[in-house]
Amino acid sequence: MADKTKYSEEELVSLLQQQDAPAFNYLYDNYSGALFGIINGIVPDKEITADILQEVFVNIWKKITSYDPAKGRLFTWMLNVARNASIDKLRSRGYQDSLKNQPLTGDVNTGGAVAVVNPRTDDVGLKKILTKLKPEQRVLIDLSYFQGFTHDEISKALNIPLGTVKTRIRAALILLRTMIQ
C-alpha cells in the first residue's frame, strides 16, 4: 500500500494544488499520525478526534491553494489547520452541550468567559510536556494554545495586564521549546 515515492515539500505542495491523488495518499500516510496526535492533545474526547482528523484532511485538500510557503512550512500550516479545527470543535454548541452532564474536574477555575483549565494525567504529546511548566505558565499555554483564546481575552479573564500575558506566554514557549529539543 505504502508508496515508495518520496516528494520534496515543494513537489508535494505543487501536486496537491493540482489535486493529485497519489500526493494525497503520501500526505496522509506521512502526516496523519502527527496531526492525529495534535488533535488528541487538544480534544480530550477520543470519540470525536477521528471525525476531526477527517475534517482536517478535507480542509487541507480543499484549501491547499491558499497555503503560502513564504509564511511557513507545509507541516506548520497543517498543524494550524488541525489546531483550529480542534478548537472549533471544542467551542461548538454540540460539544459544549455534551459536557453539561459531566462534572467539572478542573484544578484552576478562571471564571468569567474562560473555560475550566483541565490538564489531564493521560495527556499526550505536546500537552504532556505542559505538566513540566509552572502552573501560571501552564494556564496561559493551555488557554492560548490549547483552547484558542487570544491574549486579550486571557488578559481580561485572568485580570492580568496584556503585556504580562504576552511576556509570560513567550517565556513559556521558549521553555517548552528547550524541553522538546
Partner: protein, 261 residues
Amino acid sequence: MNIQEYISSGIIESYVLGLASPEERAEFENNCSQYPELITARIAFEETLENTAKKNAIAPPTGTKEHIIQQLGITGKTITMSLTPVRRMNGLKYAVAACLVLLAGSLYWNISMVRKNNSLTATLDSTNTKLKGVDEKMKGYENDMSMIVQNPNVRMAYMKGMPQSPQSFTTVYWDTTSHDVYLMVNNLPAPASDKQYQLWAILNNKPVDMGIFDMEDLAIRKRPMLIQLKKAQSAQAFAITLEKKGGSTAPEGQMYVMGYL
C-alpha cells in the same frame, strides 16, 4: 533592531504556533523579508515542531483514510497541470446542476412539443378541409348513384358516338314522374371556346331543346356525375349537338351522340 534579541524573544514560537496577534504576524512577516536569519530560525523551530509531533504521532483508526478519500471523491487518477482545476461539487451543487439540466431538458421538450403541436394542428386543419370537400363530393356521388340505381321511375338512354366521333359516349337519365333530365358525360371531346354542347329530346322526330351545358358544370355542381338539364314531358330519344355559344333554337351543328330510351 537587534535581530538576535528579536529571534530569541519568543516571537518565532508564538508566530509558528498561531498565537501571535495580527499586528505581531504582520511585523514578523515584514521582518522576515529583511532578515534571512529570521527565516532560518523560524524554519529551525518548525522542523523541531514537526519532529516532535511525529514522535508523538498517534495512528488514526483504520478506515479513516478510505473514508476521507471517498468523501473527497478522489478517484486515484493523477490530474495533470494542463487540465483546468477540478472544481469539486458538494451534494447541493450537484442537485442544482441536475435541476438545471432537467429544466433545460424540460424547456427543450416543451418547445419542441409546442412546435410539433402547431404543426399537427395545421395538418389537422388542412386534412379536415380536404375531408369536408371529399365528404361533399361523396354525398354528391351518393345522390347521383341513388338517382341512377335506386329510383324505379328513372329510365335511361345510352347515347353512342356518331361516325364523326365514335369515342363519344353519354348517358341520359329521365325521371318519368318528375320529368327531370340528368345527363352523364362519359366521354365528349372538349369544345372550342366559341362552342357549347346542347342536349335535345327527340319526340316524333322533332328535337326539343333540353338546354346547353358546359363540361365545367360537372365540377361546379354539387352532383359530380350528373348535369341536370331542362325537364322533358316526353321523349323517345336524346341527342347532343355542338352549337354556337348560347345554344340554338333548333339543332344546327354537328351531332356527337344519340340514343333511344
